[in-house]
């Protein structure tokens, strides 16, 4: 399958998969709390309702930032599943997140402001680890392209255990779950009212929700990359990681931002950088210069990660089977 096809599949299937994952999240959390929980399709009902609500704002331009947030998150995920350069994907995601933060700043209210500052602190906490993950993957596969990494014969996690664990730690931050749900929390928890999403309503709030779905699918796709050479295992681990993240969310209370920042950096340095250091010392770069290996690649010519597309399809099928 070409990368264009996987791109289209991503654009269409990701919100559905993301919404179902969000629904599963609430249901599993509820069951962990001895409750029934909402139906699986609840996030879709929520979004459909929000779209019909009136749009109230504090400053008239605040919604435009959120629209671009959504646009750029979709763009980021699209880049990722089309197999583009991983560093570029990270930078695009940062750009998207910055638009989100700027929108909250624009809303000019104390709660959204604090949410925005804390979101920035979260970004500062996970950014080093995320970049180190890309670097680690490069050091094993000698390519930054997602397509190449996904098709690499080695099981990446075997060479990058520290990076994987560090990445999991920061994944908890990126999913905005306890103990790191500092800037805005999902549904039941309230953090500083609604934190960064406080002053958004109606259609805009729906956009934020959908953007989070796209982002979650992209993040789980990245977990899959660690197991790219064994696709079935990759999908299973991705789902397992998701359940694990929910478990941690329900078990831990929220950390103070100072603790969150320091612990994330500690994990980055010890696990992430430690792994990279080990790789650099014990598996130094091969003699052929990397420059020779850099071939001009365009998204259209990249081999599509066939397994990634299959991963989306199987995840789709699962809830249907369960019900």
């Amino acid at each position: 399958m070409s990368s264009w096809l996987s791109l289209i599949i991503y654009l269409v299937a990701a919100p559905i998969v993301g919404g179902l994952l969000a629904g599963w999240d609430r249901r599993i959390s509820a069951r962990m709390q001895s409750r029934q929980g909402p139906p699986i399709f609840q996030p879709f009902y929520d979004v459909l309702k929000l779209v019909k609500k009136e749009n109230v704002v504090v400053r008239r331009s605040q919604n435009y930032y959120i629209f671009f947030f959504l646009l750029l998150v979709i763009f980021t995920g699209g880049l990722f599943f089309a197999g583009a350069d991983l560093l570029l994907v990270i930078f695009a995601l940062t750009l998207a997140a910055i638009f989100f933060v700027l929108g909250a700043y624009k809303a000019s209210s104390p709660y959204s402001f604090i949410g925005a500052e804390r979101e920035l602190i979260q970004m500062m906490a996970y950014e080093p680890m995320v970049l180190l993950t890309a670097i680690g993957m490069y050091m094993v596969t000698r390519s930054f392209a997602v397509g190449d990494i996904a098709n690499h014969p080695t099981l990446l996690v075997a060479a990058l255990p520290g990076v994987f664990l560090g990445f999991l730690y920061t994944l908890e931050i990126k999913f905005r779950k306890s103990p790191f749900d500092l800037s805005c929390s999902h549904h039941a928890h309230q953090e500083l009212v609604r934190g960064i999403t406080t002053e958004f309503s109606g259609r805009t709030l729906a956009m934020i929700e959908i953007a989070h779905w796209y982002e979650n699918v992209f993040l789980l796709g990245w977990v899959y990359l660690f197991f790219g050479s064994m696709p079935g295992l990759g999908v299973a681990v991705a789902l397992l990681v998701f359940v694990f993240v929910i478990l941690v969310d329900n078990v831990f209370a929220r950390l103070k931002w100072q603790a969150a920042l320091k612990s994330a950096w500690l994990v980055t340095v010890v696990l992430g950088f430690g792994n990279i250091l080990a790789l650099a010392i014990f598996f130094p770069k091969p003699a052929t210069p990397a420059a020779a290996k850099v071939q001009p690649v365009t998204p259209t010519q990249l081999a599509m990660p066939a397994v990634a597309a299959n991963a989306l399809n199987t995840v789709d099928a699962e809830p249907a089977r369960r019900n």
Binding site: L88, F91, I98, L102, K106, M124, I135, F273, A291, Q301
Partner: protein, 629 residues
Amino acid sequence: MNLVLALILVPFVIGSALLCLRVDSLRIILAVGAVLAVCCLSVILAMGLVSIGLNDLPVSAHSINLGMLAIEIAMSLYLIYVGVRAKHPLIAVLVLAQAGLMVWFELGPGAHTAAAQNLFVDQFSVIMALINGLVGGGICLYALGYMREYHEKAHREVPDRRPLFFALLFVFMGAMFGLIFANNLTWLFLFWEITTLCSFLLIGYTQTAEAKRNALRALVMNLSGGLAFALAIVWLHRKTGNIELQAMLHSPDKALVLLPAALLCFAGITKSAQLPFSSWLLGAMVAPTPVSALLHSSTMVKAGVFLVLRMAPIVTGTKVGLLVALVGAVTFAVGSFAAITANDAKRVLAWSTVANLGLIVLCGGIGTAEAIWAGVLLIIFHAVAKCLLFLCVGVIEHKLHSRDIESMSGLIVTMPRVCVLMQIGMAGMFLAPFGMLISKWAVLKAVVDASPVLSIFIVFGSAATLFFWVKWMGKLLEVVTPHPRIEKELDLGESIALHSLAVATFLACLLFPLISTHFILPYVVGVYGPTAAVMSQGNITIMIIMMALVMLFPVTFLNYGRGVRVTDAYLGGANVRGSTHFRSSADSVQDVAIGNYYLRDILSEPWLARWGAIGSAALLTAMLVVAIL
């Protein structure tokens, strides 16, 4: 006609003329004319339209050398006098050492050494010349209006020495051109020292006690770099018998020229304010804004990294190179974290400059083809964006009478034009898909290929830069208490300078593939031989798409205010008359106040500066020791 010589001499001549002019309107005419001339000449040089005539010198090279020696001695005497008067013995000692060395050298061992070619032009020099001419010229235009307001309204207590000020700006510009094009190291040295002198005089322009103190500190640090420079020339001549830069770079035995290269790197590091020499740049912020923009962000400090990048082919792959790269890396990380804690806008910009220069020094230390490509790109983008930011902060300081970031809240309604320009500048500093991001990406790739261990500094520094830029951007956008719009934000000179810089930021980013193929790649290939394309076509396309997306953002404002209902911010229901006040306990009415996080509890600027300086000093000492052995 020697185009290069013209570029060097025109600003010197204009500068001297300006020294005598007291009438503002005449000054404007002369300055504008000079800027236009310099810009045209730089562009003509870049386009390669006219033959450059490098070796057409009006007088013999020998006479020029003697003339330069005379100027050198005169400057040294003046500086000794300054050192003695300020009771700063170190200055006098350094000047004596360096001047003594050079005089001994020129009259003794080097007396009969003639450089085959005193001036040299390649693509890298052309890029630097364009930056110096266009960006520097823009700053001079800006300074015309800015200094008028400075003396007439904002700082009436400062004695009006504008003739000296503008003369120094142009003399400095000429010295930069000389520095860029010099192949003869003694010529380079003279221009280097002239920039040190200009910097000293300009930092001390306001003549307050603090300014004088900072000027002296800058002088000491730059002079120590100058001493290293002099030592490098002497040693090079002793080992190879010539004093030409290009000969040094093409020397067959790299180990022979390693020590001079290390010393030149040291000089570059002091001039570009890397740790442990960063305090002079931070102190230089007391000077008026055009000084900060011209000398201390866009041009003079670029001379330092220019020299380091030139030395790259010699130090690449050696321990010296690795240590230089480490100094740059540490500076980048420490500078970025220190910038988070600052709330004085110019201090934030100063730390950011130090950090970005650290990144370029890192590229120079690594010295591979990819790294140099990234380093040159960084120079271009940083010069343009940082200049834009400094000039905007200058305007804001005059209109709001404050440099504090907290006072810039709501700038989007009080000074919308300047605010948008600032946003462009800030985006240009760190945001994808703007230029700095491209360069940072290339740096990351170069580092991972060469020495992955350095990547830890880059990733942490990059996260820190994100934090302080975005919180500043947000501060400008938020409107907590609307204030009335300030009537006349910019005057003509300021407006031209700022708008052209904003356009340049965009153009540099959109046209960077062209810049790369026409200037940077040829230079890299010329130095390292053929290499693969550093950035694939696919990635370039994606960058352009991202740029297009970001540029669509203003289009959304066509739909401003439709389909939304404006309501108050949520203040727990305690709103009193809108979103600006709330009813607090004991039934009192409080203002809503919002202040940024500066993380001063977990990051302490003095602590960072001190330990960063200690670490870098250790690294630099190691570098020199390794080079000597």
